[in-house]
């Protein structure tokens, strides 16, 4: 895949924005505003602190968050067991006509996919962080490291996206998590049947069928597994607590937008009717036992990725080496500037 140039360069001022050239649509890369803020002035204390961080990192042998996440097999198993319990409880609640019972089929598929992958979210979280957002962060860092280590296409394949599909779809991590976090945040007041129905209709209008399939497909990928799963699990719990119709409507609109995004994102996938993905979708819409199996598969996939990264990457070493070098470059620049001033 060829590089796509987008103007995210240095700007003046800590959070300055440079006006770009004239384009036809917002977000056009050509001439768009630069986005990456310049760093603030760094004092000596910060440099010392960074050295201390580097030293502590070496001493502790803790190279990175994802490496640490891979370290505790027992904690992960316990977390998965706990999540499975929650999963089964959620499935029971669903079967008894809870919130999810009112959703359209595609939305239900999306929800179940989220439930399935919740266990994987906890797998990562056990590395010292908690919550779905932390899982998103760790997964993102791991995904980044893997992509630089193995290449984009290969890492996507590694995460369960076929080579045919790799060019069409990303993992959906952030989108899935976004949709779920919206519900988690607002979900305390979202439990009415009307809300559920509205959610189904809105999502359907936004292409929920595609979203459901996309979620099923993307559930095989690390990102969605981690980000979306925990979020939906949290949402399930949240929606069972409150009863505010207005909040439900809010949630509906925002979730529908997010779901629509997922569906649109996976437009290419929808065009590719591969049997393996259909099979995966079926798997993900099965009962809690199937969900358990799927979550284990995803956990293994995640574990393999983490192990690979831990053994092969050297990402932390690279970061440290780069940091040292950057510090040296910066120091020389400051010295040169001082000399000029003198």
């Amino acid at each position: 895949m060829s590089a796509v140039a987008v103007s995210i360069g240095r700007v003046s001022g800590a959070m300055g924005v440079q006006a770009g050239g004239v384009t036809n649509v917002p977000g056009s890369a050509e001439g768009g505003a630069s986005l990456l803020p310049s760093p603030a002035e760094i004092g000596g204390d910060a440099m010392l602190g960074m050295y201390a961080l580097m030293a502590a990192d070496r001493q502790a042998g803790k190279t990175s968050a994802f490496a640490r996440a891979a370290a505790s097999q027992r904690e992960r198993k316990a977390a998965i067991a706990e999540e499975l319990k929650r999963l089964q409880e959620a499935a029971k609640a669903r079967d008894s006509g809870g919130f999810w019972g009112g959703l359209k089929k595609a939305c239900s598929t999306l929800a179940k996919a989220g439930l399935v992958v919740a266990a994987v979210g906890s797998t990562v979280v056990s590395g010292g962080l908690t919550g779905p957002l932390a899982a998103v962060a760790i997964a993102g860092v791991a995904l980044s490291a893997g992509a630089f280590l193995q290449g984009e296409t290969k890492i996507l394949q590694e995460l369960g996206v076929s080579d045919k599909v790799a060019g069409w779809i990303e993992t959906g991590m952030s989108l899935g998590a976004s949709a779920c976090m919206v519900v988690t945040t607002c979900g305390a007041g979202a439990a009415s049947g009307a809300g559920a129905e509205a959610l189904g209709q809105s999502a359907a209008a936004k292409g929920a069928s595609a979203a459901g399939r996309a979620a099923s497909n993307a559930a095989g990928a690390l990102g969605n597994a981690v980000g979306g799963g925990a979020g939906v699990a949290g949402a399930t719990a949240a929606v069972g607590q409150g009863a505010s119709a207005s909040s439900a409507v809010q949630v509906t609109a925002r979730l529908a937008a997010s779901v629509g995004g997922v569906g649109t994102m996976a437009g290419g996938v929808c065009a590719i009717q591969e049997s393996r993905y259909e099979a995966r979708a079926t798997e993900l819409t099965a009962d809690a036992e199937s969900a358990h199996l799927a979550s284990e598969r995803l956990a293994r996939m995640l574990q393999r990725l983490l192990d690979d990264l831990e053994s092969d990457d050297g990402s932390a070493e690279r970061a440290m080496g780069s940091l040292k070098e950057a510090i040296g470059i910066r120091g020389n620049s400051l010295m040169a500037a001082s000399a000029v001033r003198v």
């Binding site: 924005v17 649509v25 977000g27 768009g32 919550g131 970061a319």
Partner: protein, 133 residues
Amino acid sequence: MNPLQPAVETGAEVVEAIYAAGHLLHARERWADAAAVFRLMLTASPTDERGWLALGDCHQKAGQALIALEMYGAGTVAAAPAARCRLARVRLLRELGRDDEADAWWDELLEIAEQSDDETTRGLVAAESECVS
């Protein structure tokens, strides 16, 4: 408990120093090195939008557009509302020819800007909007 409790405890100044180092490497177009530094930064401060934005840009410059999309997207979740990450995602989606998605993300960004009191966010969106006219 803070769900985004940093994996590596550091002060804000240290995070800033790491960002500065990554930024310097980024400016020298050493994408892989810069990315490694930004990843380190994100383990220390996952809610810092700049880290996700810069990491995404490194991937983008390295020709990994789909991974870049993920990084921008992760930024919108971990560092919400993350207007810059959203805008970067809009631009990249546009480049990839995924205009419908770009439109949806742009609409969300407009809504965020309208509801935001943050001048930077509003300015960012206003500057981008001017590109249309």
